[in-house]
C-alpha cells in the first residue's frame, strides 16, 4: 500500500518536474531579470481581488495606458465586477464616442459608448498604432497578465524597471528605453508612469510603485475575471472529492476485507 502511494507521489513529482523545466526555460530564453515576486491580494487558493485596488488600476489604465493600448476583450458591462456601479460605468462609457449604425442615408454615425460596448481602442487599426509609435505596436492588454511569464509580478516589475540611462557598454536602438525586466532589455515604450501622474479618488498616494501595482492587479482581473468564482468553486469541489474519496476508500477496504 505505502509503496503504491510512494510511486504515485513519484509520478506526480515527475509531472511537476516536467512543467517546471518548461517554465524555467522560457524565462532563460530572454536575457531579462526574472520579476521579483510581489504580495498580491489574489495570490493563493483563497486569494480575492481588492475592489478598491482594481478601481484604482482601471483609473491608471484609462488615464495612462489607454492612450496607446487597447483592451479589446473587456466590455464596459464587465466593469460591474470591479465594484463600479452601473450608473458610474454608464457615465464613464458616455465619455467615449463609438461608431453607431449607419443613418437613413447610409452615412456613418457616432454615438456615446454604452454598457454593451468594448472598451474603445486608441487606434483604428494596427497600422495606425505602429505609425503613431515609431513602428512599435503597443500590445492589447486584455490578456497581458496571462501571456507573459510572471503575470502580475512581471507587469509591476516592467513598469517600475526603467533605468534613466542604459548601463555602460549597452548600445541602445533609436528611441528605445532600457528596462531591466524586458526581453533583451530594450523596450519601445517610454516610462509610462510618473509620480502623482493620476489622482486617486480614495486618497491613496499615487507613487509610481503604487500605480504599477494597481494597474497590474487590474490587468490580472481583466485576464481572468473568473478567478474568484473559480477558486470558490474549486475549494467546494476539492472538499467534496476529499470526503467522497475517503468514503470510497472505506468501501474498498470493506469490499476487499474477505480477500485479505
Amino acid at each position: 500500500m505505502t509503496r503504491t502511494f510512494k510511486r504515485i507521489a513519484l509520478a506526480t513529482a515527475l509531472l511537476a518536474a516536467f512543467s517546471v523545466s518548461d517554465v524555467s526555460t522560457s524565462r532563460a530564453a530572454s536575457k531579462a531579470t526574472p520579476p521579483p515576486p510581489q504580495d498580491w491580494s489574489f495570490s493563493g487558493v483563497f486569494g480575492t481581488f481588492d475592489r478598491a485596488q482594481l478601481q484604482r488600476g482601471y483609473l491608471v489604465y484609462r488615464e495612462v495606458c489607454a492612450a496607446c493600448h487597447s483592451m479589446k476583450q473587456v466590455y464596459f458591462r464587465h466593469l460591474v465586477d470591479i465594484g463600479l456601479s452601473e450608473n458610474a460605468i454608464k457615465a464613464i462609457a458616455a465619455e467615449f464616442e463609438v461608431a453607431g449604425e449607419p443613418d437613413e442615408d447610409g452615412e456613418p454615425t457616432e454615438r456615446p459608448a454604452q454598457l454593451f460596448d468594448r472598451l474603445p481602442s486608441p487606434y483604428a487599426n494596427d497600422n495606425e498604432a505602429r505609425s503613431a509609435n515609431n513602428g512599435a505596436l503597443p500590445p492589447d492588454l486584455s490578456l497581458i497578465a496571462k501571456s507573459r511569464v510572471g503575470g502580475s509580478d512581471y507587469i509591476h516589475a516592467l513598469l517600475t524597471g526603467y533605468l534613466e540611462k542604459a548601463p555602460a557598454g549597452v548600445t541602445m536602438g533609436e528611441g528605445m528605453n532600457y528596462n531591466t525586466y524586458f526581453a533583451a532589455n530594450q523596450i519601445a515604450m517610454a516610462p509610462p508612469l510618473a509620480e502623482d501622474g493620476v489622482e486617486y479618488e480614495d486618497g491613496t498616494k499615487a507613487s509610481v510603485d503604487q500605480q504599477a501595482r494597481d494597474v497590474a492587479a487590474f490587468m490580472t482581473w481583466a485576464a481572468e475575471p473568473e478567478m474568484e468564482e473559480r477558486k470558490r468553486m474549486g475549494i467546494k469541489v476539492l472538499l467534496f472529492l476529499i470526503i467522497l474519496t475517503a468514503m470510497l476508500y472505506a468501501v474498498k477496504r470493506r469490499v476487499w476485507s474477505d480477500l485479505h
Binding site: A29, L143, S147, I242, L248
Partner: protein
Amino acid sequence: MSAAPEWKNPVVRWIDHRLPVFTFTHHSLIDYPTPRNLNYWWNFGSLAGVVLVILIATGLFLAMHYNPNVDYAFDSVERIMRDVNYGWLMRYMHANGASMFFLVVYIHMFRALYYGSYRAPREVLWFIGLFIFLAMMATAFVGYTLPWGQMSFWGATVITNLFSVVPFFGDAIVQWLLGGFAVDNPTLNRFFAFHFLLPFVIFGLVFLHLWALHVHKSNNPLGVDIKTDGDTIPFHPYYTAKDAFGLGVFLIFYFAFAFFAPNYLGHPDNYIPANPLVTPPEIVPEWYFLPFYAILRAVPDNFIDIWGILPILVTAKTAGVILMFASIIVLFFLPWLDRSPVRSARFRPIYKQLYWLFLADCIVLGWVGANPPEGTMLVIGRIATLYYFVHLLVFMPLLSRYEKTRPLPDSISAAVTPQGSSQSAQAQGA
C-alpha cells in the same frame, strides 16, 4: 465464470432474449473474472476511459460556442472564458483534461512495459493501445491549433511541415493537409472537423481494446497466466470499488490543476493571438510531446560534417522526422523484441533496473525537448535518443536471451493467498 443469470424483470427478460445487452453487461462488467492480485497501477486503464468521456463531454459544449474562423477563433475562446456560463470551467477542464489523458495513458503504457502486458497473447491488445496513442497525439495536435494563439499557429506550422520530408509527394502532402500554402483559415476549419471526429475514433478503438482485453483477460503483477478460478475475483464489486477509489484520488489531482493552476501546464504565448508575421522566440509543444520533440531535434544541423555520406540519402531534418516516427513504430515490435520466458519485471532482476533507466531516459528526453537544441542540451538529447533505441532494439532482445530470471510462482493464488501458498508448499513437499 458463472452461467448467465435468470432475469426476473419481464421487460429485461424480453429485451435480453432478443438483444442480450444485460447478459453481455453482466459478463463483461460484473461477473468478469479478473486476477485477484492487480495493484493500483491497473487503475489507469479505467481512468483513461473516464478522462476520455470528460473530454468528449466538455468538448461538446466548447464546440457549441467556438468559431473556427481565423478572424474569430481567438475571440470566441475568450468569449467562452468570459461570457458563456461556466465556459471557463468547460475550457479549463478540457485543456487540463488533455494533459491528464496523456499522463494517465503514459502511466498505463509504462505499466504495460514493466509487467510485460504487451507479450503474447496480448500483442493485438498492445497494438490497439498504440493506435489509440497515435490517435490521441493527432487529436491533441489539431486541438491545440483551435485557440489560434501564437503557439497554436507556429506549432501547426512546424508539425505539418514535417510531412514535407516524404519523398516526391512531400510538398503536395503538406499543401493537402493545410488546404493551402500556409496555415490559414482552411487549415483551422479542417482541424476543427478532425478534432471533433477523432475522439470518436478513439472511442471506437477503446471498444476494440476492451474486446481484445476480455479475450485473454488482464495481465497481472506476477505476469503468470490465470489457471484456476481461485486466481480470479469478479470485477464487481472488487475492482469497481478499487477503481472508484482510484478515480477519486485522480479527480482531486486533476481538479487541483483545473481550478487552481489552470494555465500551469500551458504556454503563456498561446494567449497572444496568432500572428503569421511574428515567430515566437521558441516554439515549444505541450509537455506530453516534449520527448518526441527532443528526438526530432536530436539530429544536429552539422550532421553533414559528421557523417559525410549519409546526407546524400537523408538531410538532418529528414533523419529527425524518421527517428521521431520510428520511436513509436518500434513499440509495435516490442512483443517480438522481448522474448524473455517471463513477462513481469518482478522476476527479471536486470530488466527491472534497465526499465527504470528507460523511464529516466524518457523523462530526460522530455526535459531536453523543453530547451533550445544547443550546446550541452543537444548532446544530452542525442545520447538520450540513442539510448531510447538501444534499450528497445538491443537490450530487450539481449536480455531475453541472457538474463537469468527468478523462479515464477505456480499460480496467482499460490503467490498471494495463504491457502494457495500452503497448498503449493504441500505440493512441493509431496
